[in-house]
Symmetry: C2
Subunit: 389 residues, 2 copies
């Protein structure tokens, strides 16, 4: 028997037929951030708010104002053309996306806040928004990374919750933003803490026929998947780049590829569970876990930069290569590797994380990129029976 | 800090220094089976029995006797040349491998029995060996597949245990036999039921510097990983072959690749846990799980045959393509898909396993290979929030 068919994966018939009750005004959504991924999020959400009567059509997007080379303001161009010409050129966001250069104005009426900025700006933004948002607002973070402080790492979702006094879900997955913008198939996972109803609202807001969203009750697990996969990916890239260079056969490469992905996934899971014992094993089987890691390894956007690093034997620094190849962007895995290393080192866990440790040593120039291929060292537990982590 | 270095991943110093006590004669190992994978197992084991004083040097290998085109007996050629010229030509097995055409003689003195034959022969072999083996023997199965009977599926390890009255571990992993024979890096997982000491002995017997073996206390989980990955792999191959043919960009393909692997892994785990509630989630993070699946998808040996099936739109049967392309071998996933389908259908679980169900429909010619790419159907649970399985 073939699987049953579903014409429309989200059942919106009830909300479409019955208008919202007077005491439930349509939900207003604001996106805090308007880079590449933020603009794609705006497009996804704007297509859904138009269809779902429980949401206000308009999607407000806070844009860090810039003056373009033409002399025009970025917000004006977005509002006139429905296009973020700087960070997502060629893609119409939807006429109901309104770019707003005033962050306080942008968030004022929103009850659903989507945070999607570079992670180093979040603490400042949170401080600025304290007391400026509705008390019944809900947040979601699409931001990868964490803040490492003296008393331990702080996830971005916690930063938002603690500063703004609101609950915060996360959405992670294989966010190859330009491909999602072209409406190519992709997946993501929403992590929530307690309230499944709110998680379902986020799923509804993001899910489209080409962007498949599921949810799991595990905020930290989902968030750490998104954060740590970059660390695993760099190890994978260097491990397999060596093989590419040596011109080995494809089939041999596959065994290496699979083994490093597995070790990366194992360290991601072990690190997450040591930090947050509530993290569930099953989260790593979701889109945010194994699928995002495989996608990142096989097709990640910063591939060329990591490969160039390996081809130069680690002799040209990341700062140099990033400046040359990534037009001012940073290679996310490098800062993650440093943050993860700080935690591992501080807690005395380094020897249980040979892949993460080695990746950091390579990033710092203390080991060559070839260090990844030494498997008897990468998997010391394996050779002695059961894994310790 | 760099990870600590280990010159020799297996610590054999104690057994090398202290000869075995008189009451502990060296362990004798027999391999039941001498195909491609069986011959590689013989090579791995024979290199270890020479090094480890707790094992008898000689490794006996039961060979189903054949007369070669030259008129010689296969066992004689193996014993004269140390090479299985039919199933692993060009590779020296080790002088301490003795081919024996008499199965009862081969197993008589062995206390460690390695089963590695095509799975359809195992029931007959077990019946033949009843009462012919030592009562203190231990077994391990390297065989993928299961026997589906009226009262449910029977794993090969259970078949061995039940018929021979001995405990049986399993060893599964990315067994691209020809690559392991060339001493290229690979990994495997031993699954054991209760006795960790016996599992450690198996690890010692198989582990080499290029073949990394770990163990987990989960026989059924490890065995089902090995069995079910072929089902997932076929779905993956067809799903991604469509994309190859349509000439889409690499990065889009990666998202599909990762998504189908994830769904395959999810169904493998769900199926295993429904059949055997003792199966552990963590087993799927081992080499036998995620790594073997990725390896099989990226480099599996029967890739050409599955691709040819898709390119012909399913119009040429597997029987036809196998005969043409696999020199008499069968594409393992096809029979697994049928066995899995019988279980799912009998227990009313079909709708929770859209990938496995669709793969079987394609194998039977009731759906075209293109059926795999319809993602809203493949992942119906995803679109409605949390997975049911």
């Amino acid at each position: 028997m073939a699987p049953s068919l579903h014409d429309d994966p989200i059942d919106d018939s009830i909300s479409a037929a019955a208008p919202p009750l007077p005491q439930m005004p349509p939900i207003k959504v604001t996106i805090v951030g308007s880079g590449n991924w933020g603009s794609v999020a705006a497009k996804l959400i704007a297509s859904n708010t138009l269809k779902l009567s429980s949401f206000h059509d308009e999607v407000r997007m806070w844009v860090f104002e810039e003056t373009l080379p033409t002399g025009e303001k970025l917000t004006e161009v977005i509002n006139n053309t429905n296009e973020n010409v700087k960070y997502l050129p060629g893609i119409k966001l939807g006429k109901n996306v309104v770019a707003d250069p005033d962050i306080e104005n942008a968030v004022r009426d929103a009850t659903m806040l989507v945070f999607v900025t570079p992670h180093q700006f979040m603490e400042g933004i949170c401080k600025r928004l304290m007391g400026k948002i509705r008390s019944d607002a809900e947040a979601i973070s699409l931001i990868k990374g964490m803040e490492v402080k003296r008393d331990g790492p702080c996830m971005i979702s916690s930063l938002i919750s603690e500063h703004l006094g609101i609950s915060c879900c996360v959405l992670m997955g294989a966010n190859i933003a330009n491909e999602i913008a072209l409406e190519q198939f992709s997946e993501a996972t929403v992590g929530y803490r307690k309230n499944k109803e709110i998680a379902d609202k986020w799923v509804k807001l993001f899910h489209t026929s080409y962007f498949m969203v599921s949810c799991v009750q595990d905020v930290e697990g989902v968030e750490l998947c998104g954060t740590l996969k970059n660390d695993s990916w760099m190890g994978w890239r260097w491990g397999t780049t060596q093989r590419f260079i040596s011109g080995s056969k494809l089939i041999i490469l596959c065994l290496y590829q699979a083994a490093i992905m597995r070790i990366g996934l194992r360290e991601m899971k072990a690190f997450s569970k040591l930090l947050f014992p509530s993290v569930k094993d099953t989260t790593f089987f979701e889109s945010c876990g194994v699928a995002d890691l495989i996608t990142t390894c096989l097709g990640g956007r910063n591939r060329r930069c990591a490969e160039a690093f390996a081809k130069n034997g680690g002799k040209r620094s990341f700062d140099e290569l990033e400046a040359e190849m990534l037009q001012g962007q940073k290679l996310q895995g490098v800062s993650t590797a440093k943050e993860v290393h700080e935690v591992l080192s501080h807690r005395g866990w380094l020897e249980n994380f040979p892949l993460f440790s080695t990746v950091h040593e390579i990033c710092c120039g203390r080991l060559p990129p070839t260090a990844i291929v030494v498997f008897s060292e990468l998997a010391p537990d394996q050779s002695r029976g059961e894994s310790r982590i």
